[in-house]
Amino acid sequence: MIRDIVAEGVKGGWKAHDAAQLRQNTHVECDVAIVGTGAGGGTSAEILAQAGLRVLLIEEGPLRSSSDFHMLEREAYPQLYQESAGRRTKDKGITILQGRSVGGSTTVNWTSSFRTPPETLQYWREHFGLHEFGDADLAPWFAHMEHRLNVHPWEQPPNENNSLLRQGAQKLGIPTKIIPRNVKGCWNIGYCGMGCPTNAKQSMLVTTIPSALEHGATLYYRARAEQFRFDGTRITSLVVRALQSDGIHPSAHTITVHARHYVLAAGAIGSPAVLLRSGLPDPYHRAGKRTFLHPTVISAAVMPQQVNGFSGAPQSIYSDHFLRTQPIDGAIGYKLEVPPLHPVLMSTTLVGFGEPHAQLMSQTPNVQVIIALLRDGFHPDSEGGTVELRSDGTPLLDYPITPYVWDGARRALHTMAQIQFAAGAKTVLPLHENATPYASLAAAQRAIDGFPMAILRTRVASAHVMGGCAMGEDAKTSVVDSFGSHHHVANLSVLDGSVFPTSIGANPQLSIFGIMARNASRLASRLNG
């Protein structure tokens, strides 16, 4: 019997409220109101609540926990993801996987936990005035959160999908490493993306948020932060719209929040959107600019043996080789990993339809997939995207893919095909609408060289949304300072992945945990000072 620690906590008297149940407008007073419960909001909530501050957490998605996690894509995607795991950029060119429930993306991510790479921090110091972001400065914060969330290099053997990345790379002399994961007593079943049914994943849902609630914090879920009210110097209140129990339609009721301090941690699309809806001062139009995605291209292979990519820890092997073959501000580099392969994610991601698609799906157990995550934001031709508002106020990310990024995408498709053939693939299908399964590397290479690189021809996905509220010392080029304090609004901080001035160049969760632990600790002492 697996304990559902969230259900137990709610039963035991946590102040966790479903806003869909509100029958009238309500007011809440607190010291700190945090919008969002993901990596940034969860980390901040624990630190602020432990410092004795009265914390309110606001989450747009539902509260779901281990006994709700049935490992079914048809349930998990609508319940736990933004836009049913089908969020798209404005031109529909990129599919974005982003969480939307208590715990945010940490509830559904694949547990890969990397410290911010030294070369990324160096770039930040040199270009954004983030002088206190030395490796040694941040190391204690990363160590603290690694300890808090039990981050360790994965100790069990990688599943075959990961193992084939390693084998193929090895044959080509490309080094790979083992991925550190935030799990405790992991069952190695492979369903991290649908919510961990065993509570092994040390997501915010089972760590910092329960801790904050134990310390008296209040949580409202199915509650969407609409806008701040601003008196010219300070935020005076936050208007929160309750959603109906379907999580889609707004309800008639609002929650008005009065706090000493407000924290935005709604993610790199949500946080800029709240700023834009609120019309807060933004003299240099920085809110929502330079949003990054690690645009990701994909290559599928059919192996002679069973791979069973739906089973086992989804990500345990990676290679940073192609992040290091050129300078960080040179041609775009990419990180290599593999994704889990469950039927919905796989069938919708594979290109083509009809008989060829069915044929590939029928070989599901033998399919191996590699992904290449392009490191965007370090070059003048990689300015990322812009968060806009639709007429109904919901956010939309406009992310044009530049020729600079497409160049990397093409190189990455080459690399992945090489690795897959080296690992023994019978056929390789680079995910491009013009592709067919190729039986030889030469045929794949010829085809990849000829692909028109354009949206909705090349499959591009993202699970890492970063930036849009950049931190920096210069208010002309950033939204918040190096501790996340808003440049123009005294009682507002941004504590999530939106503060990164570039992409991270690695799965971002540990960067968010560590840097937000630093910034939330500073905020706690400021508010208690």
């Binding site: 049913s84 060119g93 919905v344 339809f353 009809g354 698609h357 069915a358 599901t364 609408e433 909705l456």
Partner: protein, 152 residues
């Protein structure tokens, strides 16, 4: 080889099942469901129980933000009105009577269109129909997926 007669019967059976089913649909209209039922076997590449796909499609769309639901409505509208169905999609028969070759040609045209909006409309159908089918347990045997393990 799928004959036109077989398709017609399949189409009728699907329409009958749709009418007879007591499912509660949150998003789609009867007309929408006929379109999805016609596209489903061509997109999926197999004879599939139309009602399962249609229901999955409805659930999937109902879980999208209202703005995106509006876009899907628009797309289904284009496919529904005879003039746009013929001129934009190139489907000259009502969906119940359209043969699979005609539907495949339509999907292929949108898939490779030079107009990005048509490619994105194809991609929306691709995503919704395939998710509706492969999210369903009944689809898993054919692809060698045993479903999630038992955890307790």
């Amino acid at each position: 080889m799928i004959t036109r007669r077989k398709l017609l019967l399949g189409g009728l059976a699907a329409a009958g099942a749709l009418a007879a089913g007591d499912a509660v649909y949150r998003f789609s209209t009867d007309d929408d469901r006929v379109i999805v039922a016609a596209i489903a076997p061509v997109m999926i590449g197999a004879d599939v129980p139309a009602q399962d796909v249609v229901r999955g499609f409805d659930v999937a769309v109902a879980g999208l933000p209202l703005a995106v639901q509006g876009e899907v409505h628009q797309l289904l509208g284009i496919l529904r009105f005879p003039v746009t169905r013929a001129l934009v999609a190139g489907i000259w028969h009502p969906w119940q009577n359209a043969d699979r070759g005609e539907i495949a040609a339509f999907l292929e045209r949108w898939r490779y269109s030079n107009v990005a909006q048509l490619r994105s409309a194809y991609d929306a159908l691709h995503q919704l129909v395939l998710a509706a089918w492969y999210g369903n347990n009944v689809a898993w045997t054919a692809i060698g997926y045993a479903g999630p393990p038992h955890v307790a």
